[in-house]
Assembly symmetry: none
Homo-oligomer: 412 residues x 2
């Protein structure tokens, strides 16, 4: 098996200014290709240290993946140092220059002179086109060692890796690794793990539990000579998990619960409306993250103040005073209010105290009420995360609202 | 200046199963202590490779910070390998054993036999107590080189670093590093860099450009004997940048443009409302990310369909047919519509094609119209990102809407 290593280049990483999400993405993708990653490192935009890091990497690995430092400014030197290391000369790559010029033109701009250096590439490399930015990436070889250069911004790196680096790397990959993520909502990581304890020791496929942002998932991973065989190894284990966790599972290989919700709404031909207080638009934002959400979602009201809750959603003013904005009563009226206003089939609402500060009442930070209404009924759920973390509370509130919709649709 | 490096130990990092947030945290904290980090690396739980990594690190750095691999299972070997490298023997540390026994007892559990190895420490080390888990950390020295061991889980590592590693490291820290981020909107990275080209070569403070998600920023970083002197070095350079980039700058050391907008609205005592189509609640979500946004934001309408644009926001049906939902006319009417409905002082609206698919018209994916209305006027801006990336388009649309509010408020 060929060994791979990842070198992330950027002083901003050494200073901790940005989180190294590129390295995680690359590690995951290389694992899927069956390419073992034994080392990852980070170096700054520094000629000598980068050259030395390349030397050490080439001693122990067959393929070196470098990300970052392909920008137009003088401190971007990754390509130059990599070419120095491989003794390759940079020449102008007309096609890339044309593509970059067009890229700027489409934005109504002239290409700055400084960007031209991004089109200078070694003559015998494989060029990775950048469809989301200016700097092209590349793959090049010398004496059996390979260097791949990718841009640092994740929005550019990820699609370029999938479109161009994967085909380049396929030549080195003799095993296939396949993973499936079984995503659940409403069960904790420990409880979920207990349900499948006997499966956690299996070796091929492996079964591993993960927890994040109020959700738990199981990853089933198999290695085999080809995709078909790997899938055959996974299938019976996934079936076992499915039968044990049943309704907690919202999807296999979905990336998020909103994907499941949009899919189910489409299937059933139903429309959803939202009324959000503490989540401030996050539920709407998450639903409309999904391309094609327009066929199932057409209206959301962000009613951050009591006045708007009354004026637009028709929440009773006396109830607002008597029970407070964060109450069962108000949550219910928000849901029924937006249902009427929008003409949707179902509506979901959230009102809560996201924190970190209290709302001036004696209700705890982390408390929220989530309601779901259809034409005949309205249900409400009380939640208390016990945390003062605003981002966490808002995210988990939105997830619970989406899950309430999922559970409702499951029964329809 | 002493140099530091970070080695993260864990096969789960090499596989990309978890994001290396520890490395970012450590890098940030070490920078604050004035300890330069020139290398970060990740190795698996593997004896030979870890030993080799330590050797390379000790050649180039004075202080090596290792995180992870202090657990009770046989594959946790970081401490054992570090002691082998420094030729130190492990002996039982009674105090840690007692603390760990108590830790389990408090949870109503007996301590598993396997955890005892976590209390084996080199005789002459400085023990870092773990108040959030079992494994103690430590600092140790040999021939002027230092190794610090910290547990991998962030909720154990972070407090231990602050409580115990910082006091240990203070002995090496004779300099202070201070950074300020000058954040701009509406100017590209290249154009911004050209405006301050002469400053990019300066050495103390350094000035470095960064770009992310449609924004560009300049980081000014100074090193000095104390904070006051470092600030004195930064001040004149920041002043120069401020005078050259003036209106493009939305804030210094702000984390995002919504922070600037909420701050300005508060200052001027004005309220904002939003009407969102393609951004689907993202503007509202970003504004309400900011704690205390409730005093300046109380209403947002997510009008994803034409019907809702007409019914709730009062957009003219004929205009919707004639010009289409993604048009100057509709953007303007969305802004004026939500302004009336909400009673806010200003309103901002976005309508566009986020993609990746077209909306069935011949308008390009990436096109959007952003409008801003106050009681007397309404302005509209056309934007075309030229990209098909839904997340990017939505984010940049929301940023441009927020920037339009900022520019408006700047002149009031």
């Amino acid at each position: 098996m060929k060994t791979c290593e990842i070198i992330s280049v950027g002083t901003e990483l050494l200073l901790g200014d940005i989180l190294n999400t590129d390295a995680q993405f690359l590690a995951q993708e290389l694992a899927k290709l069956g390419l073992g990653v034994l080392h990852q490192s980070v170096v700054g935009d520094n000629h000598d240290r980068l050259l030395k890091a390349l030397g050490q990497a080439a001693e122990r690995s067959d393929i070196i993946i470098l990300s970052g430092g392909l920008g137009p400014t003088p401190d971007d030197i990754t390509k130059e140092v990599a070419c120095e290391f491989f003794s390759k000369e940079l020449v102008l790559h007309e096609e890339s220059l044309e593509r970059m010029t067009k890229y700027f033109k489409n934005k109504g701009l002239d290409m700055p002179e400084s960007n031209k250096k991004q089109a200078m590439l070694p003559a015998d490399c494989v060029v990775f086109e950048n469809n989301n930015g200016t700097a092209p990436g590349l793959g090049m070889e010398k004496d059996g060692k390979h260097i791949l250069l990718l841009p640092g911004p994740p929005r550019e790196l990820k699609p370029m890796f999938t479109e161009s680096a994967v085909p380049y790397l396929k030549q080195f990959s003799d095993k296939v690794i396949i993973s499936h993520n079984i995503r659940t909502f409403g069960i904790g990581e420990s409880a979920m793990s207990q349900e499948v304890e006997d499966l956690l020791d299996s070796e091929n496929p492996t079964v591993a539990p993960y927890a994040k942002d109020g959700e738990a998932l199981l990853r089933v991973t198999a290695m085999a000579d080809n995709e078909e065989e790997a899938e055959k190894l996974c299938a019976p284990v996934i079936e076992k998990i499915r039968s044990r966790l049943s309704d907690y599972i919202y999807g296999i290989d979905y990336t998020c619960i909103e994907e499941a919700v949009v899919e189910m709404l489409k299937e059933k031909g139903l429309k959803l409306a939202t009324a959000e207080s503490c989540t401030g638009g996050l539920i709407g934002k998450r639903i409309t993250n999904i391309s094609g959400a327009s066929s199932v979602f057409d209206c959301g009201i962000i009613s951050y103040s009591n006045e708007i809750k009354h004026k637009i959603l028709g929440v009773n003013e006396d109830d607002l005073k008597k029970y407070g904005a964060v109450s069962e009563q108000v949550a219910k009226q928000m849901a029924t209010g937006v249902l009427k206003l929008s003409g949707a089939d179902i509506a979901v609402s959230v009102t809560g105290i996201a924190g970190p500060l209290s709302d001036g009442t004696n209700k705890p930070v982390g408390l929220s009420y989530i309601a779901l209404a259809d034409k005949d009924n309205v249900w409400v759920k009380k939640l208390n995360t016990g945390r003062k973390d605003r981002d966490y509370n808002r995210y988990v509130n939105a997830s619970n609202a989406l899950n309430m919709v999922r559970v409702y649709l499951n029964k329809r």
